[in-house]
């Protein structure tokens, strides 16, 4: 499973990249592999608030549905418009074209409570 070094992660298998107070969020390669073919993603509406650790959407696959938990507190600024027509992007490019939503976060700090790539890799090794 791919775990890019530069990203941060959650126990619920989301990844986060923060740049200029905007956090981009998606689900990890481990998560998309466990889910199987993604058929639909329900995303938090732009302009709405999300809370770290709270469910804010759903990923529906052939065999199952999983909650998406927001890794950060903040306001949703943008969602990935490609996902609705092509939910398979989550499977084929979970860290790139398969990004899910962006959140404006408090500046100058790394969001608290997130895992490093090393910590997340250890977490998914335990699952196997």
């Amino acid at each position: 499973m791919t775990v890019p070094d530069e990203l941060h992660y959650t126990h619920e298998h989301e990844w986060v990249a923060v740049s200029d107070s905007i956090a981009t969020v998606g689900i990890t390669d481990h998560a998309q592999n466990a889910l199987g073919d993604v058929v639909y993603v329900s995303l938090p509406p732009p302009g709405g608030k999300v809370t770290a650790g709270e469910p804010c959407g759903e990923v529906e696959s052939t065999k199952s549905v999983s909650d998406i938990y927001s890794p950060v507190d903040g306001e949703v600024t943008e969602v990935n418009g490609e996902i609705d027509d092509d939910p398979g992007l989550v499977n084929s490019d979970p860290y790139g074209a398969g990004w899910l939503f962006k959140v404006r976060v408090a500046a100058d700090e790394d969001p608290p409570g997130l895992l490093t790539a090393v910590e997340y890799t250890a977490l998914i090794r335990e699952d196997e």
Binding site: G36, V39, T62
Partner: protein, 377 residues
Amino acid sequence: MTDPQSRAPRRTPLTAVHEGLGATLTDFAGWLMPLRYGSETAEHNAVRRTAGLFDLSHMGELAVTGPDAAAALDYALVGQLTALQPGRARYTMICADDGGVLDDLIVYRLAAQEFLVVANASNTAVVAAALSERTAGKDAAVNDRTSDCALIAIQGPSSAGILAPLTDASLADMRYYSGHPATVAGCPALLARTGYTGEDGFEIFARPQDAERIWAALCEAGTSDGLVPAGLAARDTLRLEAGMPLYGNELGPGITPFDAGLGRVVKLGKPGDFVGRAALARRARAIPERVLVGLTGQTRRVPRHGYNVLWDGAPRGTVTSGAPSPTLGVPIAMAYLASDAAGLAGRGDAAGRLAVDVRGRAEPAVLTPLPFYRRPA
């Protein structure tokens, strides 16, 4: 001390092949089976468009033989197996005294006194025990041949074209639901034109030691047609589209064949008693309290097993199986629904009144006659 509940799942004669292909494996009824090899949607689509290859060696094979075999099966099962001609197969069920289904089965008649009963992997032991009990005192033997059988299925419109060069059987002469001995890839087998996908296809019962050779021969013969291995995830969405029941979902001990809309398998007209006759005769005459229906979801959120079906906002039924349909591009489901609601839901003025509670939100649905998909004529 090892917990006996955590005994490792059994490997099939083809598990090593699936591992070599990088399949995602799962413990299914105590067997290590391929869930998918890559994309289960691609595997499903391949079966509809060309062909897919399945390892079904987890299924149970029970040989019932002897001068009383046919009569014994007439007593043990709800169907009339004495009327089954050698070389033919029949879909049937084995029920308890109260008419509840113990398993759904395909029975092949190989000769006047020789039958092969194919059971679901999860129920093989129960069916074997029930058959032994029900044949006691008759001149018929029941033998569990599961460990001696590998089962490979090729399913899809290209199946016959791919298989024909590999077998001495004349496929053009094989009717749907027939089965007889043949060689496949030079190996002795029972070849049947049966399946669980709604497509044309064949099921090949072979010796375990021949499984890899037959699998490899089919893969090679099927390359130019785009034949792909297909796992249990695709198997489930294919049978759901075809409106076929799954034991544990649409069928179970508290459900009669009539409840599932499959009263046709119960041959109340056959001479002689059979297990469950009285209860099933009563049930055949009764007005059903609930019926098995098909549902098509009108949003993208998928009705899943166990979700409530709502009529005018009130829970009146339960989803038994649900998944996104790769062929139709919408969510589909089967559900047991109160008969009165089902009657109303089928009418022209039902719009907006039928829904499924999907994780707390009511998603509108429409009643859809089964099957959702029929293969082109």
